[in-house]
């Protein structure tokens, strides 16, 4: 019997080619996306599951408060880890971690060659213990015990030393530290939050010798003893803080974040060194979208199968007079759906495998083909197959198998209106979804364009930032500046601690050093070139002085308008006034506000100053653009002439700023692809529906033509029949789209207004797509010879 059903199902597929192609295409597209997203979601959820003691690992956060608001940072003071380990017995290990140059790159000289290491971390020995880092060479329990030691990942070892044994070799970092290689560890897996290219011993650093409560630049990881209450540990950490800092000086508090939540639940936490971050809401959104597309494909199936019921009703009737029970017919229709779904599933798996590289590029992931080999995937696929078969097969199966056998003896028997209403609401659902997606994609696109065209208050184009972390001494620095200044392609240069788009030092701005709450301010050490290089708008005063007067102890500072507003001065009044930012500063200039961070957040206070406490790690160069590769080559030449032992590491300001919107861009790309596919699948359904409606109404059309209806009139009749549900979809889709997109735009401090033109475009394109899809079928039906259609009965 089963064999027989299978045979019938197969013949049915072959006999109704259009129907089968539309269904298989729709379902396999939907399933391809589902498979890809399933792999993606699995990958996201699998983060950090390889660490044996993951449930006992915590990250120490600091909850910082100031006039500017509240901020939770992933970084904490360097003193916390050693003190915690000494004084809190529940803590087995505590380890600090600092990316070189506070999140920058490192210039590495190994084996007489220069390398730029993007992922250079200073860590405590305990970090190796907490995460049980697998060392393939060297001893894990003492690899980073001493200062001036370093362990390399296998890929870094290969990069620096090739086939040579790196153990015992010396590496020079930033022209400053001589480090001995004491171990090699296997690379961290793709789904590990911890992702260090190399790890050098934290004790090498000056910070380790004199740890303070003030500098919050270090990530701290804690391994608690099993069955410890993290809240108790958090309280004890706070008690430690109370011992270290007077209550009134505490501008931050400690929090413990479970390690397992770091990957997906850290979007609100700033200053993390981890680069491999996910977002649980993205996982949710994508899951939702995948289900939606699959649902659209299922609806196609339901629609087409029931649209086909005229032919089917006869078949059901015959089978029932031949003795078929309802059960038999149900099995049969489920079987048909099952066969079709299985074929689609097969195609989808192949398509997913082919699409993985594209998917990886678009979503910036590294999904691996190996994921397909896992046995659990087979179970999942079978489960998806079952669910799809059930979801899309139930309505047709129940509907069709209920036909009465008498329909075949009285063929004039009319089908109920109920069926057509259900079918129409399914079409409405599909198109409402498409409308929401189109509006969404349009608005995301417009917002990103708005960001690109937004006047940032400075000009990031044609500015190169060259890392100078490998340059030592004032002499070499001024030589470098001088060399660059003399190039004809260079307009202006400036040495700076950082540049817009990257975070710099966070301090507090006060009128006087009176211990009052102040305003959070970003401070950036730089020199007299900065206004020219960034092309900031000077509102009052002048640049930082090129040379410091003999005996002048005050720090010169240029504030932005926000900072001056806080102080209550007009730009003109502010010049010459003294303010307190860690030390006493003299305001020499005021610049207009500029977006030094992403447009997600409003502009806050910013200061350029010439205090010498922090290193100026970047040479910013504004150049004339005539042939980028030529410029880069020339700059590299000059740089290597001055600093032969450092690697030439550069980036462009505009590119760095683009990176701030990487997530949005990615969302837009995924959105556009999804939207396109959803609309395509929905159109497939509409095409099929149009074809079958035309077929179903063949007789009616024939009669109308005999009575004198023109081709135009009939085409119009068929088209308006479809445009009605589409207008309903627009009416439903628009408010939903408005609501959702309004919410999304709130994530940006600077965003576009939702304009009615977006809805006009979306509505117009949906109607157009639908028209193109159905007109072919309608016109064909209308032009047919009525003799043909009337003869069929």
């Amino acid at each position: 019997m089963i064999k027989n059903y299978f045979k019938i199902a197969w013949r049915n597929l072959k006999a109704n080619r259009l129907f089968s192609v539309i269904n298989i295409l729709g379902l396999s597209l939907g399933l391809t996306i589902t498979i890809l997203l399933f792999l993606f979601i699995r990958h996201e959820l699998s983060f950090d599951e390889m660490y044996a003691e993951k449930e006992n690992i915590y990250r120490l956060l600091t909850d910082q408060e100031s006039d500017g608001g509240r901020e939770i940072a992933a970084t904490s003071p360097a003193i916390a880890a050693p003190m915690a380990m000494d004084e809190i017995p529940e803590i087995k290990y505590a380890a600090r971690m600092l990316q070189n140059d506070f999140g920058g790159t490192a210039s590495v000289r190994a084996n007489n060659e220069n390398f730029t290491e993007k992922s250079f971390f200073w860590v405590d020995q305990e970090l190796l213990d907490i995460f049980k880092v697998q060392l393939v060479k060297g001893q894990r329990n003492n690899a980073l015990n001493r200062p001036n030691t370093i362990v390399l990942s296998e890929s870094a070892a290969k990069k620096y030393f090739g086939a040579m044994d790196p153990l015992g070799k010396m590496i020079k970092v930033d022209n400053r530290y001589e480090l001995e290689v004491t171990g090699v560890y296997s690379d961290f897996e793709a789904n590990s939050t911890l992702d260090c290219g190399v790890m050098a011993s934290f004790s090498t650093l000056w910070f380790a010798k004199k740890p303070t409560w003030y500098n919050l630049s270090f990530e701290t990881y804690l391994l608690l003893n099993p069955n410890t209450d993290p809240l108790a540990v958090e309280t004890k950490m706070k008690e430690l803080l109370d011992k270290g800092l007077e209550k009134q000086d505490q501008w931050y508090d400690f929090r413990l974040q479970p390690f397992e939540t770091i990957h997906l639940h850290s979007t609100q936490i700033s200053h993390s060194y981890a680069s491999n971050m996910g977002d649980i809401s993205e996982v949710h959104n994508l899951t939702f979208l995948a289900v939606l597309i699959l649902l659209i494909a299922c609806i196609n199936y339901m629609n087409l199968t029931t649209a086909y019921s005229q032919k089917r009703s006869k078949e059901v009737g015959i089978n029932k007079t031949l003795g078929a029970a309802k059960k038999n017919l149900l099995t049969r229709f489920y079987m048909e759906t099952g066969v079709l779904t299985a074929i689609s599933m097969g195609i989808a798996v192949v398509m997913a495998i082919l699409a993985i590289p594209v998917f990886n590029t678009v979503t910036d992931q590294n999904l691996n083909l190996k994921l397909f080999l896992k046995p659990e995937l087979l179970t999942t696929f079978s489960l998806i197959w079952l669910v799809i078969t059930f979801v899309s097969g139930s309505y047709p199966a129940l509907y069709l198998s209920a036909f009465s056998p008498k329909t075949i003896i009285q063929p004039s028997y009319q089908q109920g209106r109920k069926n057509s209403i259900i079918r129409k609401s399914l079409v409405v659902f599909q198109f409402a979804t498409s409308v929401v997606l189109i509006v969404g994609v349009l608005l995301i696109h417009r917002q990103l364009q708005f960001i690109n065209e937004q006047d940032l208050g400075f000009k990031p184009e044609n500015v190169m930032a060259i890392s100078t972390s490998g340059i030592r001494g004032a002499q070499q620095t001024s030589a470098l500046v001088h060399e660059f200044e003399s190039l004809t392609d260079v307009k202006s240069v400036s040495m700076a601690q950082g540049f817009p788009g990257m975070s710099v030092s966070g301090r507090t701005l006060r009128k006087k050093n009176d211990g009052q709450e102040g305003l959070d301010i970003n401070t950036n050490v730089t020199d007299s070139g900065i206004i020219d290089v960034l092309q900031l708008k000077l509102l009052a005063g002048q640049n930082l002085p090129a040379e410091k007067q003999e005996g002048d102890k005050l720090v010169d500072v240029i504030l932005n308008k926000k900072a001056v507003d806080y102080l209550g001065y007009s730009p003109k009044e502010a010049i010459g006034k003294e303010v307190h930012i860690s030390v006493t500063n003299r305001i020499v200039g005021v610049v207009d506000d500029f977006n030094f961070s992403s447009l997600h957040v409003p502009i806050s206070a910013y200061a350029f100053h010439n205090n010498t406490g922090e290193p100026k790690s970047y040479l910013l160069v504004r150049f004339r653009s005539n042939g980028l590769s030529k410029t880069i080559a020339q700059f590299e030449n000059v740089f290597q002439k001055v600093a032969p032992e450092s690697s030439f590491d550069y980036s462009f300001l505009d590119k760095n700023i683009e990176k701030l919107y990487k997530r949005e861009r990615r969302a837009a790309q995924v959105g556009i692809i999804f939207c396109g596919l959803a609309i395509f699948v929905a159109c497939l359904g509409l095409l099929g529906l149009a074809a079958f409606t035309a077929a179903q109404r063949k007789k009616e059309i024939g009669i109308r033509k005999v009575l004198g209806a023109s081709i135009l009139a009939i085409s119009r009749m068929l088209l308006t029949d479809f445009l009605k549900p589409i207008s309903v979809s627009l009416a439903i889709g628009f408010p939903i789209a408005y609501f959702l997109m309004n919410r999304w735009l709130q994530h940006f401090a600077y965003h576009i207004q939702i304009s009615w033109t977006v809805f006009l475009i979306a509505g117009f394109s949906v109607v157009l797509i639908a028209l193109v899809t159905i007109s072919f079928q309608s016109i064909r039906a209308a032009t047919q010879n009525p003799v043909k259609s009337l003869r069929t009965e």
Partner: protein, 220 residues
């Protein structure tokens, strides 16, 4: 006695009026009879056939089929009853388009859960008897109208029903094909099968042992 209809009424309500499709039908049919139902269009021929075939219900009256009271049976038991004892032949053949001749014949047996070997034997037997062995792998669309109706009758007969209901079996056929089919019915009836046919043609009706005339739902 095979079946007995007593005071059968069937109506529909339309625009506040009751329109009678069948009015006070009383009918006794013995096993082995060959009955022709005649009457103009709309006289209720097909409706009567549907009621006898249990595909359609009725509003008043009693219906005895063998020893069962059809009017008091549940839908499902009624279906089981007609599946067991009645074979249907249609004007437009109603073969399953996607199945071959052989598979069309096999279908009723599948629903009655015959074993594979039995099914094969019965299908082969039927193909032999109707002389259509050569056509067994063809699809309905590849056959002439007469041949399709032959398959239709063979399919109706394969599970050895007691009663064959035929709704204008020759309506779509030319006169020669029609005559052949009627000959076949005659022969089947001689072999003991009870047949009730609906027909427009006096000539075809003459093959039967008894003629029932209907007009506006009444027997006359």
């Amino acid at each position: 006695m095979l079946l007995q209809l007593n005071n059968i009424f069937k109506w529909v309500n339309s625009g506040g009026q009751r329109i009678f499709l069948l009015k006070d039908i009383n009918l006794n049919i013995e096993e082995g009879e060959f009955i022709s139902i005649m009457g103009p269009s709309g006289s209720g021929k097909s409706t009567l056939l549907n009621v006898i075939g249990m595909l359609d219900g009725f509003d008043e009256g009693e219906y005895q089929f063998l020893d069962e009271s059809v009017h008091s049976l549940k839908e499902k038991d009624r279906a089981n009853l007609y599946k067991e004892y009645i074979g249907f032949v249609f004007q437009s053949y109603h073969l399953l388009d996607d199945l071959t001749v052989k598979e069309n014949l096999e279908m009723p047996l599948l629903y009655k859960k015959f074993k594979g070997s039995e099914r094969k034997a019965m299908v082969a037997d039927m193909l032999d008897r109707f002389n259509i062995v050569g056509k067994k792998d063809l699809f309905p669309a590849q056959l002439s109208g007469g041949q399709q109706q032959l398959v239709g009758i063979a399919r109706a007969l394969i599970s050895s029903p007691k009663l064959i209901l035929a709704d204008e079996p020759t309506g779509n056929l030319n006169s020669k094909q029609g005559e052949e089919i009627m000959q076949l019915f005659k022969q089947l009836n001689d072999e003991g099968v009870t047949i009730i046919q609906v027909t427009h043609s006096e000539k075809n009706a003459a093959y039967g042992s008894r003629i029932i005339n209907l007009l506006d739902g009444r027997m006359i």
